[in-house]
Symmetry: C2
Subunit: 254 residues, 2 copies
């Protein structure tokens, strides 16, 4: 197994940010300052075409670190962020741009593309979790949650299906095609988001994916608006959901 | 118009509770202590067979008063709480109990029964709101929200459809039959709750009612479980929704 190697460190406004690698996978770990006592860990998956330090990741991490005292880790998905793209990545991305420009359906491209990334990323996440749990401020026995929308769901949903260390998860905004069978294996509490007027993911498909989770506690949040209108208050909701299930109070929400 | 008459008063743990009447309709007003400055008002509708001071009402009121500094008013629905039942009420309730005991569908009884109560209650609520807004600690210009589930939706939804003073509303757990046309008139932000495995209200019917709201901002919260399993954390969510739209921060949520 690969150990976690820190490559850079900074701090601002009560959040410690450490870049790391596990093998050749680059990641970032955000932690409370001070933060020597073991605290719950949230793994976050970034969206398609995005990266580990996108502001949507940094913003959610700040809420989780300063609001709940959690650690938050994000790794770059294959072909994203600081990771090289393969010829296959370039092909898939080019095909996606062509379909989008032509106004053709994306799902025939996005679904297999993201499923391929998930096959690579699930073992990467598991190795990263092994390495993170070797850190004394995280530890092997603490609660672990997952939060990821879009590509973060395409990767995170099969991860949670096979990873018993993750005990609560937030997903959303993804086609069900490659995910329904994995969803049927998930029994931990789930919060799932969809856009009621999503022009890319049909409503019935998104409802079917929510329906597939075997979780006794699952909550659907459906908001009016198109795919891009996904509201910012769902980030606050995800934080409260994770705080409830990973066992910390939220210090302050507005 | 009838003025608001206070009939009893008490205080505990930062919440002032005043019983009142407007005409022959009894109500309760919960307020912050101290609470002389004008603050937003939330109208709450209780559930079927319940009353204005049921613990679900008192609990939500405490969250809104101590968490947000809001005033909260509840009135007894016709034939509920301290109000007399008519012969028609007795007939409807007896028919409902017979259907429930026989395991027959409730909606053919509940829907027209609750629609009849709504016809009576909407003008009662409007007169109550008039009288409440005459109070200096509420005032005629402050924001007004509505929160009611079950019968509280059967009454509140047609109220919000005709009452422009109400600018945000939380509804849920009610059949659409008598409400879809009113929902199409509603344009203010709405949070709507349903139970994903509701054995009384078909899922498709509840989704259709959410779909009917004309609101640009509307959020559906669907939770796994049967009708009775409606989770307590939805009360916290309703408080945050109202705080967001009526313009106050939530002091503390856990």
């Amino acid at each position: 197994m690969h150990a976690l190697q820190f490559t850079a460190e900074s701090s601002s406004n009560g959040v410690r940010e450490r870049d790391f690698t596990v093998g050749d996978v680059p990641g970032v770990l955000w932690s409370p300052v001070p933060g020597d006592d073991p605290a719950p860990l949230v793994l976050m998956g970034h969206g398609g075409g995005s990266h580990k330090k996108h502001r949507s990741m940094a913003g959610r991490a700040r809420l989780l670190v300063t609001g709940c005292g959690f650690h938050v880790a994000v790794i770059d998905a294959p072909g994203h962020g600081d990771r090289p793209r393969t010829a296959l990545d370039e092909q898939d991305i080019a095909a996606l741009r062509t379909a989008q420009a032509a106004g053709e359906p994306e799902s025939p491209i996005v679904v297999p593309y993201n499923a391929r990334l998930a096959q690579l990323a699930v073992p990467e996440w598991q190795a990263t979790l092994d390495a993170l749990q070797d850190r004394p401020e995280i530890g092997a026995d603490g609660p672990v949650g997952y939060l990821g929308i879009g590509l973060g769901t395409a990767i995170g949903l099969p991860l949670v299906a096979v990873e018993p260390r993750i005990t609560a998860a937030v997903f959303g905004l993804m086609w069900p095609d490659a995910l329904v069978e994995a969803a049927k294996q998930i029994t931990v509490p789930v919060e799932f988001a969809l856009q009621w007027d999503d022009e890319r993911i049909p409503r019935e498909d998104a409802l079917a994916l929510f329906d597939a989770f075997a979780s006794k506690e699952k909550t659907l949040h459906a908001n009016a608006g198109k795919h891009i209108d996904f509201p910012r208050f769902e980030a606050d909701s995800a934080v409260r959901f994770l705080a409830r299930h990973l066992g910390r109070a939220v210090a302050s929400t507005a």
